[in-house]
């Protein structure tokens, strides 16, 4: 037996052929007025940077975590003296500096991508990205400053 099963049909007398309900449009549909190409390679470089920095970061961060948290007594050994000792060598200074920059730019660019994907309104998108850029620049500058001006004899 063929039959239509009665379901809750929210028929509403306020809509009709002459005054239909509004349809729900997806955010940012493509139209003839969508922006034309900007002729930059920015997105390309961003994409390549994410792959390259990702590979480097795996090495940098895992080694960093091993030294800080696992080897030689684990986290309990980390003290001011330990940090001062490591940063006495330009090698570890450079290591930490590269790690800081790569991690912040990698994470920042990743978040920028997520904001581009998920922020629906242009103003939300803009302000979220401004917040992100400010936080990234601040952290990178502060970290760099600390690495370069670190004074082991501070009292």
């Amino acid at each position: 037996m063929n039959k239509a099963i009665e379901t809750t049909d929210p028929a509403d007398a306020t809509y009709g052929p002459d005054h239909p309900a509004p349809v729900i449009e997806p955010p940012r549909a493509r139209t003839g007025r969508s922006p034309r190409t900007s002729r930059t390679n920015y997105e390309l470089y961003g994409w390549v940077f994410m792959r390259m920095s990702g590979i480097l970061l795996v090495v940098l961060v895992i080694t960093h975590l091993l030294i800080q948290l696992v080897l030689d007594g684990g986290v309990s050994k980390v003290s001011f003296a330990f940090v001062a000792g490591r940063w006495a060598s330009p090698f570890w200074q450079a290591w930490d500096l590269i790690m800081l920059w790569l991690a912040m730019l990698h994470g920042g660019n990743g978040l920028r991508t997520i904001i581009n994907d998920y922020a629906e309104r242009d103003t939300t998108r803009f302000w979220l990205k401004m917040l992100l850029y400010t936080a990234t620049v601040f952290t990178v500058l502060l970290g760099t400053l600390v690495i370069f001006t670190f004074d082991p004899n501070i009292s």
Binding site: T7, Y15, A29, E43, L44
Partner: protein
């Protein structure tokens, strides 16, 4: 000649619909002339499980509810007009057999089959969506032959190997199953989407075409291939079996090798 007729008449009447099963179709309905909200409606029908979802939709429209609205034209997987979300996956209704998507127990479907419009495009009525943004992205990648110089006096020849290079992407029927299965497209309709990239790929890798650089430049932009997250929904959705994600990756690769 006489034998088949004989066999037919010898079949007993009660068993005529023995091969039919009872299946419930749960269809997403929306009619802006009646209500602002979309809702689910169940239709229980008796149908041969070897029929397609499109046949079931026809049966519902012709026998139960004439207001059910959907697009179809060829009914044989060629025109690309009946892409819809069937049991949560983008499929062509005319290529999806009911027996492949329903669990049966004693001739009754264990679960309803859900049918909804494809996502990421404006729903106009029931299963019909506004395809304009989709075709706009298609137009924006210039899906036509671009050449320089004078028109040749004879046809443009191509080796079999050169033709093979882009064979996969020539199969596209512009059904939008891929683009409307892409989560990046759902959240940002300005993204060109897999279908436009597939059709750009078809010309970028055509040895007779000279507009590859222009198309690559368009796809190199903010809404181009770099937004692809290799989710593979498009490859899964494509009713033509095109390796959509692979085509997108090939465009990325072409951009990288040309720019470095």
């Amino acid at each position: 000649m006489a034998t088949p007729t004989l066999e037919k008449t010898s079949g007993t009447a009660p068993s005529a619909d023995e091969h039919l099963v009872t299946v419930t179709f749960r269809i997403r309905r929306f009619n802006p002339e009646e209500a602002a909200e979309a809702f689910w409606q169940d239709f229980e029908i008796r149908i041969d499980p070897k029929e397609r979802v499109l046949d079931a939709l026809h049966q519902i429209k012709w026998e139960l509810d004439g207001t059910l609205t959907f697009r179809r034209s060829c009914a044989h997987g060629i025109c690309g007009s009946d892409a819809m979300r069937i049991n949560g996956k983008n499929r062509l209704a005319c290529k999806t057999l009911i027996k492949d998507i329903v669990g049966l127990k004693n001739g009754v479907g264990t679960k309803p089959i859900s049918v909804e419009p494809i996502k990421g495009l404006t729903v106009l009525k029931d299963l019909v969506v506004d395809m304009d943004p989709f075709f706009q992205a298609y137009r924006d990648v210039m899906p036509f032959l671009i050449t320089k110089g004078n028109e040749p006096t004879r046809e443009r020849l191509q080796s079999a190997a050169d033709r093979e290079r882009f064979d996969d992407t020539t199969k596209c029927i512009l059904c939008a199953a891929c683009t409307s299965s892409c989560p990046v497209f759902w959240s940002d309709g300005q993204y060109f989407g897999p279908a436009a990239i597939v059709n750009a790929h078809r010309f970028i890798f055509d040895s007779r075409d000279e507009g590859a650089e222009q198309r690559l430049e368009i796809l190199n932009d903010r809404d181009g291939v770099w937004r692809c997250r290799t989710v593979f929904n498009c490859t899964d959705a494509c009713p033509r079996g095109i390796e959509v994600t692979k085509a997108i990756q090939e465009v990325k690769q072409a951009l990288i090798t040309r720019r470095f």
